[in-house]
């Protein structure tokens, strides 16, 4: 009897931890909530990240699609009781969210942190690299334009801008300031220069809108972020994209943030590891022209030509003082509406 009992106990000591280990990997019934932009980004994250996680863990991954403003509003409003686990933010929002205690600081000991180029994990994990350049109608603007060309009287009334506040608008303020011999710390110089773009042809909220206006010849140029435009160009043969040189394109970096005290921290970490991994970042670069932040990604020469994929290239781009820009946003929004859009 004693022998039977001890055998049963021994079996129990072996089986229980094994069952425990199994339970730790089994996330059936769990849902990971990820806030991200829609379109090709969502498609790649679904194929390369969400589906493998669902297969491996039994959990389900729910994407909440929208702009960064929606996500920021949600994670701030839910600060004490978050329901979103992973949020993709812009490079200027990530440090703010970290200092407000909304997201977790990136873990310098983690493999994914170490794989990313030094100095890029600012606030959250750096996800992809793109630059603000100029999309233009090739029939109206014969050569790839420089920034100053947007001020050419020939194109007066034919410049479109994205809605402000946003990366594109902040970048344009930074460029205008530099063309006026200053930088973003002198907003008066920037806004005075911006006056020269009036009247603005349109304020766009999505690429389809502005491309339709470009196709009919009512918009000649618009400052745009490289990745989205380059991947959409194949459907618009008359539209080109220019990376200006004086000054260069403005660096824009997407960040992957793990929300503090979120319901599924382990699944969120798994998601981050796969999203920042070589396979997904390679697809990001090759399919949608978003430059990788993972130093282990090796791109073909052809793919490398269209994306920003090295720290040296990053150095050549205009980098704004984002904490300062964020501080000024409220005032600049008013000035943008009033002085540029003449509202």
């Amino acid at each position: 009897m004693l022998k039977k009992l001890s055998t049963a106990l021994l079996a129990g000591t072996i089986v229980l931890p094994a069952a425990g280990a199994f339970a730790a990997d089994d996330y059936s019934g769990h849902t990971l909530v990820v806030g991200v932009w829609g379109g090709d980004i969502e498609r790649l994250l679904r194929e390369n990240v969400a589906e493998p996680i669902e297969e491996e863990t039994g959990a389900s991954v729910e994407f909440v699609l929208g702009g960064t403003g929606d996500r920021m509003a949600r994670i701030y409003a839910e600060k004490d009781n978050p329901t979103m686990d992973v949020a993709f933010l812009n490079m200027y929002e990530a440090p703010q969210a970290l200092s407000d205690g909304i997201v977790l600081p990136p873990d310098p000991e983690s493999d994914m942190y170490k794989a990313i180029w030094d100095g890029m994990n600012n606030g959250c994990y750096a996800m992809s690299l793109v630059g603000l350049g100029i999309a233009y109608n090739k029939n109206i603007v014969p050569e790839a334009p420089e920034w100053e060309d947007m001020w050419d009287p020939e194109y007066n009334g034919m410049i479109a801008v994205a809605q402000y506040p946003g990366s594109e608008g902040d970048g344009l303020i930074g460029v205008a300031a530099r063309l006026a011999g200053a930088d973003e710390h002198d907003p008066d110089a920037a806004f005075e220069k911006l006056q020269g773009l009036k009247p603005i042809a349109m304020t766009y909220t999505n690429l389809d809108e502005v491309f339709a206006m470009m196709d009919v010849g009512e918009v000649a140029m618009a400052p745009m972020i490289s990745g989205y435009v380059l991947s959409a160009l194949k459907e618009h043969p008359d539209i080109g994209f220019s990376f200006p040189t004086e000054p260069g394109p403005v660096l824009v970096r997407d960040m992957l943030c793990l929300v503090k005290d979120s319901p599924e921290p382990e699944l969120a970490k798994m998601f981050a590891e796969k999203a920042l991994g070589v396979a997904n970042q390679t697809d990001y670069a090759e399919q949608i022209f978003f430059g990788p932040t993972n130093s282990q990604v090796e791109l073909s020469e052809e793919a490398s030509a269209d994306v920003i994929d090295t720290p040296e290239e990053v150095e050549s781009l205009v980098q704004l003082d984002w904490p300062y820009v964020i501080e000024q946003r409220s005032d600049w929004t008013q000035r943008w509406n009033k002085e540029l859009l003449e509202q």
Binding site: D100, M202, N337, L341
Partner: protein
């Protein structure tokens, strides 16, 4: 009201309190908060700084007046379009009336977004209106509707016309048919019959419809945002910009509180006018 009736009403009153009054109260309190230095979170304490900002910059006054005149224009145009339509529906009989009323209700139940997106294709540079004008040889370059005040007003009229039509159909249906006939028998031309007989009698319907269209236009967000293309700032788009893009919720709350106050004022004026009309001897 007796106690029993009050008891029966309690669940609805409590629900209304939680769903409607508490958020309003919260909005009002938030409008007196400010963001912390270098933070997007609200700081401790209360201040009237947001209200001071709102009155100290002429930009906000311009946005307020623009919203009000655009809402007034949308109300007036809706009234002019709705009067003959409502008259036609009111004099229709049986199935035709039911069908016409159902057609009025379709835009109301489909929400603001879908009809506005439809208008985008109608009024856009490649839209139906511009294409027809180009085909007819009347224009060579697209007429700009999008991103202009007239474009937004057209959208507001399209979105809120049913709110004007329904009270007018109701008022015109109740109009005794013999008063019109009597006026005509006495030699009054059609315009005089409308001005001196029909319009005074359906005035309560006109006021109700006007208040509904004006208030809906005043608070509208989707139509000015989409058809205005970010170039026509109104209360609604300004509150959205501050809340969702700038993430300055206290200031967005202040904009919303002022908007609600103007809304309340509009409703009060409408109600006062309706009461005066009701007291007026026939």
């Amino acid at each position: 009201m007796n106690k029993r009736a009050l008891m029966l009403l309690m669940p609805a009153l409590i629900l209304s309190g939680i769903v409607f009054l508490l958020p309003f109260l919260w909005l009002f309190v938030t409008s007196f908060r400010v963001q912390g230095e270098g933070s997007l979170l609200m700081a401790e304490g209360f201040s009237a700084a947001n209200y001071a900002r709102l009155v100290s910059d002429s930009y906000f006054a311009e946005v307020f007046f623009r919203t009000i005149w655009m809402s007034a224009a949308a109300t007036l145009i809706s009234l002019v379009i709705a009067l003959p339509m409502a008259r036609q529906i009111a004099v229709s009989a049986g199935r035709a009336k039911g069908l016409l009323l159902a057609l009025i209700l379709v835009p109301l139940v489909s929400g603001a977004l879908l009809p506005t997106l439809g208008m985008l294709h109608l009024l856009g540079p490649l839209g139906v209106v511009n294409s027809i004008l180009k085909d007819l040889g009347l224009i060579t370059r697209s007429v700009k509707f999008l991103g202009t005040a007239p474009g937004v007003i057209i959208g507001l009229v399209q979105a809120f016309l049913p709110l004007m039509l329904l009270p007018l159909v109701n008022a015109l249906s109740r109009l005794p048919k013999d008063v019109e006939a009597a006026a005509e028998t006495l030699g009054a031309p059609t315009l005089i019959v409308w001005r001196r007989v029909i319009l005074p009698l359906i005035a309560p319907g006109i006021i109700a419809g006007s208040v509904l269209v004006f208030c809906a236009s005043l608070t509208s967000f989707v139509t000015p945002q989409i058809l205005g293309q970010g170039k026509i700032a109104t209360f609604g788009t300004m509150a959205y910009q501050q809340a969702s893009l700038v993430l300055d919720w206290p200031f967005a709350s202040t904009v919303a509180v002022v908007m609600l106050a103007i809304l309340g004022l509009g409703l009060a004026i409408g109600s006062l006018a309706a009461k005066r009309l009701a007291r007026r001897p026939a």
